[in-house]
């Protein structure tokens, strides 16, 4: 009975996903350029946020390395721009991010809590400065040019990567690795003594989440003609997914996607209405959302729903 229930749940989720994919895939046929551009931005952040949640959500390790892998994607795109077809470029970026993340993950195993956050924070700045110096010495330039791809091409690419990210996140959550990651987040020592290869599980998941960050980077790089280390390895790229995940709520995968969509949209409105005050208001929104929505928008909505229903416990 239970098993039947579960397969039905699975097929409902899968069905919804396919419908969503179809709607999003057909959208450029019917609508104007602006919505597509906005959606590219939203999908980009959704990829980064969901990928971040895959590792940091269950394990509780707050990674701020997102910008490092995303920026790596930028540089793969710039270096191989024009010589390699677009899909191959994206895969190459994903593969490079995977390899780099394996190395970084293996190095940082000893660090826990805030030290891991500081390490990943510094990593982004280190990479930024190293690339800056390498470019200065080797190519004697600061930035590079990237061959652009049509808006529709970018849109479909990021859409496909988005669904791959969601699919991977769902598979990991539901597989044995999901349970392993959760138990690592709950009590790492007990997990290790219960037979979980803690090191490998953490590193592999970290690297898997980096794949999608790298791919997103390679895709979005083609939206710009010019990139430099400051654009590619920007700390905002590391912090925003964390905030979006918290904004949306991390209990399931809907939260991070919702958080990314709402946050990007709010940012977009602020940017067009108050270009000078944009960053300031953004900071305030950030602080307020951390302060007043400990469980994210979704948690807030569930809380309101619970109150409307008369104070009983919401079904989990």
């Amino acid at each position: 009975m239970k098993a039947i229930q579960m397969t039905r749940d699975k097929s409902v989720t899968l069905g919804l996903l396919i419908v969503a994919f179809l709607i999003l895939a057909l959208l450029p046929q019917f609508t104007s350029g602006y919505l597509v551009t906005l959606l590219i931005d939203i999908l980009k952040f959704a990829v980064l946020t969901v990928a971040w949640v895959v590792f940091s959500g269950p394990t509780g390790y707050m990674s701020l390395a997102t910008a490092a892998f995303y920026g790596l994607g930028f540089y793969i795109a710039a270096v191989f721009s024009g010589t390699v077809p677009f899909p191959l470029l994206i895969m190459l970026a994903g593969a490079s991010a995977f390899v780099v993340a394996l190395g970084v993950g293996a190095l940082t195993l000893r660090l826990r809590g805030v030290y891991f956050a500081i390490f990943t924070f510094a990593l982004v700045l280190l990479v930024q400065n190293v690339v800056l110096e390498v470019e200065r010495v080797v190519t004697q330039t600061r930035g590079r040019f990237v061959e652009t791809v049509s808006t529709e091409g970018v849109y479909y690419a990021i859409l496909i990567v988005f669904f791959l990210t969601i699919l991977a996140a769902m598979l990991i959550r539901r597989s044995r690795y999901g349970l392993a990651l959760q138990s690592i987040g709950e009590y790492e020592e007990a997990a290790a003594h219960s037979g979980i290869n803690v090191v490998w599980t953490k590193v592999l998941t970290f690297a898997t989440s980096a794949v999608f960050m790298g791919m997103a980077g390679a895709i979005i790089a083609t939206r710009r003609t010019y990139i430099d280390p400051y654009i590619a390895f920007n700390l905002n790229t590391s912090f925003l997914p964390v905030l979006m995940a918290m904004f949306g709520g991390m209990g399931n995968l809907v939260g991070p996607v919702l958080g990314a969509a709402l946050f990007t949209y709010i940012g977009e409105i602020l940017l067009t209405r108050f270009p000078d005050l944009y960053m300031l208001i953004f900071g305030v929104v950030l602080i307020v959302s951390i302060l007043f929505m400990p469980n994210g928008v979704l948690g807030l909505a569930q809380g309101v729903w619970r109150k409307m229903r008369g104070g009983g416990h919401a079904p989990s």
Binding site: R176, L179, A180, Q182, S183, E186, Y187, E189, A190, A191, A192, H193, S194, G195, I196, N197, V198, V199
Partner: protein
């Protein structure tokens, strides 16, 4: 051949010697008690066996081959499971999921999720926690959490089980239940090493006892021999053994 054997096992923390050149063995099917005052190095010895810590010197062999240097998860998959002095459960996961971690990852052979779930339910039944299978483990009482740890350890299908003070903080009745549980574990053919402060429990169920004091083994023998040992009586001065 002994099931588990340690030679000159030592561990220092900076200048402090926690375990100093302890020789020990455990034979298949027995219940070995590990006693000694607080800070005698009992838990450290467990940590060395289960590879939570590397030893500073000495070797530990299991079924005849050395296991020093292996990571904790491999020790577990070889068949050495443990519980913790202060419970380390996965508090936000349902009870049955806690146990399933053991049966899914700790057995040494790859089992399907359905099979792992079946074993988890069996072990919950064994420690009499079936009625709480879907409750978050953090909501359980201390006594139940200790049983849960035992179930999680048993789910890894161990040959050797290390129990670290599973009776500490329990009521008299709960201690009786725990003693019964250990007897049933032995009946399954699982070898047990237990650290315990509850003397009547340890004297009642152990076949053999090792006494540690300041990291050194000061006595070893049957409960009756150990209780009559002069050094042991000195260490436990005034306590009734």
């Amino acid at each position: 051949m002994h099931l588990l054997e340690g030679e000159g096992v030592s561990r220092n923390f900076g200048g402090l010697v926690a375990v100093a050149g302890v020789d020990f063995y455990v034979d298949q099917g027995e219940i070995l008690g590990l006693i000694g005052p607080n800070g005698a190095g009992k838990t450290t010895l467990f940590n060395l066996i289960s590879a939570a810590l590397p030893p500073s010197a000495g070797t530990i062999s299991y079924e005849g081959s050395p296991i020093t240097g292996l990571p904790p998860y491999k020790i577990c998959r070889l068949g050495i499971a443990r519980t913790f002095q202060t419970v380390k459960i996965f508090a936000h996961l349902p009870t049955v999921r806690n146990v399933m971690v053991g049966s899914l990852f700790g057995t040494g052979s790859r089992s399907s999720a359905t099979e792992a779930l079946r074993i988890a339910d069996e072990e919950l039944e064994f420690v009499e926690l079936s009625s709480l299978r879907d409750v978050p483990a953090g909501d359980l009482t201390l006594a139940s959490q200790k049983r849960l740890e035992v179930a999680r350890a048993l789910a890894t299908q161990p040959k050797l089980l290390l129990l670290d003070e599973i009776m500490a903080g329990l009521t008299r009745n709960e201690v009786e239940e725990a003693m019964d549980l250990i007897a049933r574990i032995r009946a399954r053919g699982i070898t047990v090493v237990m650290i315990e402060h509850v003397m009547h429990a340890i004297m009642g169920i152990c076949d053999r006892i090792i006494v540690l004091d300041f990291g050194v083994k000061i006595a070893e023998g049957t409960p009756a021999e150990v209780a009559a040992d002069k050094k042991v009586i000195e260490v436990y001065l005034g306590e009734e053994i």
